[in-house]
């Protein structure tokens, strides 16, 4: 196709006073004033007038892109859409109630042996019995103390290390390889070694917790610290801040919400490790209680302990989340 057949292929005007390109360009020098209501003739003709040149519009060698049928209006929630508060609460309640109902019906129907899946009522009464005898509280206290101590030690080591790695190139180069390697060694595999080194007492359990948490928390803290926009660091320098002031007044407040988030994730890991440690060698603690109950096939007791572990973990999570939202109000 060539440009010469433009006048022939130019489409007929859709509206009476809308003229083809050739007519418009011929008319414009003679009559600058257009007939009433028509488009300005000095303007180049619209898309209709250009169509057909060199195959496609504007000389392009292709037609218009294929069109898709528009999406049907849907009542389903859109991606990224928030739900209304009442709906949210209904969904939250369902999230707990549905598994509970499944549990109740499964154990009530008799499809599963009571020894394997005790009924919620049996679990509750086992929990009440344990609470009454006082063993639940002493075991919980043993585990909570171990988690608290081990987690604090791990945080006290990992936050400065991660801070250094995230903010200083030399610390990153020095620590990244060794921590990246240690992180892949399963903490549980250290149990025999720890027992040989530290004996069966408290210290070996706390050491396991520290090993399980410290490397991940270091790397996650370093990631958070590294994300600080460089222009914030630069502008701090031009406002007269020294290196230690930048660390304290700029990097720390910027990274604090993310550091709490990292601690929140790793607090869950700490609970895993304390139970693992107590499963292997202990005379108290929730993990120890589970092994004891297993010996006497008391699945209801195991379930009760699991529920207690879950509730404590949830409490820690909620508390850390509240702390995060308090210090990170600016980030939302």
């Amino acid at each position: 196709m060539s440009g010469t057949d433009l006048p022939l292929t130019a489409p007929a005007p859709a509206v009476a006073d809308d003229r083809p390109a050739s007519a418009a360009s011929a008319a414009s020098p003679v009559s600058p004033v257009s007939p009433a209501g028509s488009a300005d003739p000095t303007q180049p003709a619209g898309p209709a007038g250009r169509a057909g040149v060199g195959g496609g519009p504007g000389g392009r060698a292709w037609g218009p892109p294929p069109r898709r049928r528009p999406a049907r209006p849907s009542r389903l929630p859109k991606l990224g859409e928030d739900v209304s508060p009442p709906t949210r609460w209904v969904l939250r309640v369902l999230s707990v109630v549905v598994p509970l109902v499944v549990w109740v019906t499964l154990s009530a129907s008799g499809a599963v042996d009571d020894t394997f899946l005790p009924s919620p009522a049996a679990v509750f009464s086992a929990g009440v019995d344990m609470a009454r005898s006082g063993e639940l509280f002493s075991d919980t206290w043993s585990s909570v103390r171990r988690v608290g101590l081990g987690f604090l030690i791990a945080v006290a080591i990992s936050v400065p290390l991660g801070f250094a790695m995230g903010s200083m190139g030399w610390a990153q180069a020095l620590l990244e390889p060794v921590i990246g390697l240690l992180r892949y060694m399963p903490a549980s595999a250290f149990i025999p070694l720890l027992i040989i080194w530290l004996g069966l007492g408290e210290s070996s359990k706390i050491a396991l917790l520290v090993i399980g948490v410290v490397f991940f928390n270091t790397l996650m803290t370093a990631d958070v610290v590294r994300r600080i926009p460089p222009d914030l660091l630069e502008v701090s320098g031009t406002l007269g801040a020294r290196q230690h002031e930048i660390a304290r007044k700029v990097i720390l407040p910027y990274a604090l919400p993310g550091m709490i988030d990292a601690a929140r994730v790793n607090a869950a890991a700490a609970w895993n490790f304390v139970v693992v440690a107590e499963l292997v060698a202990a005379t108290s603690g929730l993990g120890y209680r589970i092994t004891r109950a297993q010996r006497f096939l008391q699945t209801d007791k195991i379930f009760a302990v699991l529920v207690v572990i879950g509730l404590i973990g949830l409490t820690i999570d909620v508390l850390l989340r509240l702390a995060r939202d308090r210090v990170g109000r600016w980030a939302r």
């Binding site: 630069e234 502008v235 031009t238 007269g240 020294r242």
Partner: protein, 293 residues
């Protein structure tokens, strides 16, 4: 090269007495060059041309100088050299005769993003530099209030940056730099991200702040109109390598307002600078095309 503008009309005095700083400092760049790859193996594909070569520039105390140039001509690099964030590979930058060796509060910096501390309120952002000085809390609060008032944000002191508009954020960024009473304020396309109307307000505001504080201003922009409207001098930077190709005095009345933009002298200088920027930008792009082809 012109001295400080003595014909500048005094600004309407704010209610609180103005800062007692001694005004602006004298900035001098002598043969400044910057090659980011100097002394290192040049990465494959990196141009063999330094970013800046032989930049000589003198800014008198209290002067307002604008640097224009196409994108990539090294404007930000030049400003970062003066700020002390990077060290030149050639030549020297001095402020009041003392060589610049690192960033410091006597050279305030405002960048396009504003770089406000998002966890600090507007007032706390302005207070940042003062918190680092041995200064009683009451005195600090008095100064912060003065600068909040100066930038027209006295009602917004408690807002976080996320709750401010783009123009308000830039005002806070300017106030934060000014609160340290710098000898020079360095602005890197401070209004580049603003809409046209806000930008116009901010330009008038910046002239006012400059008149009130008497500080030296070195501003970088790619907007020729803005440079001619604001500056007492316009310096044109060309790319490949970045170098000064023109240094033109702006002969316009000191009290600039929206009418200035229709002044024939303004229009003439704007056209001249635009032509210069375009000429060097075209030369740059055709050199790029030649090396690519």
């Amino acid at each position: 090269m012109s001295g400080p503008d003595l014909t500048k009309t005094p600004a309407t005095a704010p209610a609180v007495p103005a800062p007692t700083g001694e005004g602006g400092g004298a900035l001098l760049l002598r043969g400044v060059g910057m090659d980011f790859h100097a002394g290192r193996r040049r990465p494959a594909g990196a141009p063999a041309i330094p970013t800046l070569v032989g930049v000589d520039l003198a800014v008198a105390p209290g002067e307002f100088v604008c640097i224009v140039g196409a994108s990539g001509s090294g404007k930000s690099t030049l400003l970062r050299l003066v700020a002390g964030l990077i060290r030149p590979t050639e030549g020297q930058v001095t402020l009041d005769g003392r060589p610049v060796e690192g960033p410091g509060p006597e050279r305030g910096l405002v960048c396009q993003s504003g770089a406000l501390f998002p966890w600090r309120t507007a007032a706390a952002n302005i207070a940042f530099g003062l918190e680092l000085l041995p200064m009683p809390r009451a005195e600090r609060r008095r100064r912060v209030a003065w600068y909040l008032n100066e930038v027209g944000l006295e009602a917004y002191g408690d807002r976080l940056p996320g709750q401010l508009s783009g123009g308000q954020r830039q005002r806070v960024a300017i106030a934060r730099a000014l609160a340290c009473e710098p000898r020079v304020v360095l602005l890197d396309e401070p209004f580049g991200a603003l809409d046209v109307q806000t930008k116009e307000d901010m330009q008038l505001f910046l002239r006012q702040v400059w008149a009130d504080t008497g500080t030296t201003v070195l501003m970088v922009t790619h907007d020729v109109e803005e440079a001619v409207f604001l500056g007492q001098r316009v310096v044109v930077l060309a790319s490949d390598p970045g170098r000064v190709v023109a240094d033109l005095p702006v002969r316009l009345p000191a009290g600039r307002d929206l009418g200035t933009r229709r002044d024939p002298a303004f229009l003439e200088l704007r056209a001249e600078v635009e032509d210069l920027v375009r000429l060097h930008h075209r030369a740059h792009t055709s050199r790029l095309a030649a090396t690519a082809g």
